[in-house]
Each structure stands twice: as structure tokens, then as C-alpha cells.
Subunit: 136 residues, 2 copies
């Protein structure tokens, strides 16, 4: 099964923005995801990668899942104290689905309501799923 890359934007200041001298909420989200993945015994199928700005600043914190030949999803409005588990769950669902398009009803609620964008795989291997389930 293809490894899913889970990008976490570490430069994000959050909304409303954190104070300049406070730890960046994006860095806190990365730490939270890292800790939770570790507590679950690690996950060899998920590669956690810090990213410098996913350009979703007005709706940060942000994360994205991506994998070779699969759809890419960007998730926003993430709270480092609340949503690390949602991000990990969605990454696992993305990994388990051949096209990277987990069933809508199975996705964590935060992911359903705060998907910022999705992009087809670079080499389209399959037709686009029906759009009705992706309205956000």
C-alpha cells in the first residue's frame, strides 16, 4: 500500500494569530500529531512531513495528505489542541483508499466541514468521483 504523506504547515500562526513570542500553532500541531502517532505505536504507512506554508493562512492551521497516484486533500481550521487525531485518522483513511478518496460519511467531522481544497493525482489513474459528496 502506498505511503500517505501527511504535511503539517509549521509556519502557521493560527487564527486569530498567536503572539510573536509564542510557539507557532503550526509547530504545536506538528508536535501533537507526532506525539499521537508515536503513542499509537507509530505508523509506517504515514510519513509525517513539516511544510513551510501551505498558503492557507486565513484558515490555518493547515495540513494536507498526498500520495503517489492519489488525490491530494488540504484541511484547514485545525486547532493543535483538538484536531491531531482527526488529521491522523483521515491520513489513514486516505492511505487505505486506492484513489485517496475516503468515503465521505467515514471522514472525521472536522475534515468533512473544513476541507479547503482537493486536487486530482498528477497522473489521473481513475475518473473523478461524483462531485456531490465533495461540496463544502
Amino acid at each position: 500500500m502506498t505511503t500517505t504523506i501527511l504535511y503539517v504547515c509549521v509556519t502557521c500562526r493560527g487564527n486569530p494569530p498567536a503572539a510573536d513570542d509564542a510557539p507557532r500553532p503550526g509547530a504545536r500541531l506538528l508536535a501533537a500529531v507526532e506525539q499521537k502517532l508515536g503513542a499509537d505505536g507509530g505508523d509506517k504507512g504515514i510519513a509525517l512531513v513539516p511544510a513551510n506554508c501551505l498558503s492557507n493562512c486565513p484558515r490555518g492551521c493547515s495540513a494536507a495528505v498526498s500520495a503517489s497516484g492519489k488525490w491530494t486533500y488540504v484541511i484547514g481550521d485545525l486547532d493543535p489542541d483538538r484536531h491531531a487525531g482527526d488529521v491522523i485518522d483521515f491520513a489513514r483513511q486516505h492511505r487505505a483508499h486506492a484513489e485517496g478518496v475516503p468515503e465521505w460519511r467515514d471522514r472525521p467531522e472536522h475534515v468533512r466541514k473544513h476541507t479547503i481544497a482537493r486536487v486530482p493525482p498528477v497522473k489521473p489513474a481513475a475518473p473523478s468521483p461524483a462531485p456531490s459528496q465533495e461540496q463544502s
Copy 2:
């Protein structure tokens, strides 16, 4: 040089949404891009691909550029009557840049102001560019 895929969301109803019996603004954007690319004599380095929902509905119309080994960008708030040229110009810049990260100052103004998200390449070949230029 790697082909850049230019995805145009053809299911988009635009904002405010077009009437149910009107042509979908997303489909009109695709047609406008297609026509403009053709008028320019075509472009073998740009592959124009219709997509079913880029999940950026609140800020549609939407397009995305992507290429193997490069950053992916999602652009929103696109007006089919005004922004076909901007989307094509950005796709060409994306194709010309080794990492798919065109110089900020060179990007079309609409792209600078309405980038919805960007995602690193699936197989990171290069470090993330400095984040300061990507604040949106």
C-alpha cells in the same frame, strides 16, 4: 521540461451561485481557458484537464496546477469572463520553474491574491521555499 497539468473545476457554480438552468461557471471557465490556449497556438507543455469538484466551492471558480515532482497550487475566486489568461500564465510559469514555485512578484495579481492552498510535491525533491512570500 515536465508537463504541467492545469485542472479546471467544471462543476463549480460560482459565487454567488449561477441559476440551475444556466451553464455552470466552472464549465465556462474551462471553455474560456481552452479557447485562449488554442488562440495562442496551443501549448504542448500544458495539459488542460477538467476536474469534478476541487472542494473549494465557497471560493470558486477554481483551478489547480500540478506536475510530477513539483508543488501543487490551487487558485480560487476565478471569474470565467476575466481570469482565463491569468490561469494560463501561471501554469506556464509553473512549468518553467524546476520546483513549480514561480517568483512571487512575477505571478499574475489574481494568483498572488487568491491562492487558496499549495502542497509540496509527493516526493520532496527540494527544501520548501521561504514562507514569507507565500503569506496569503
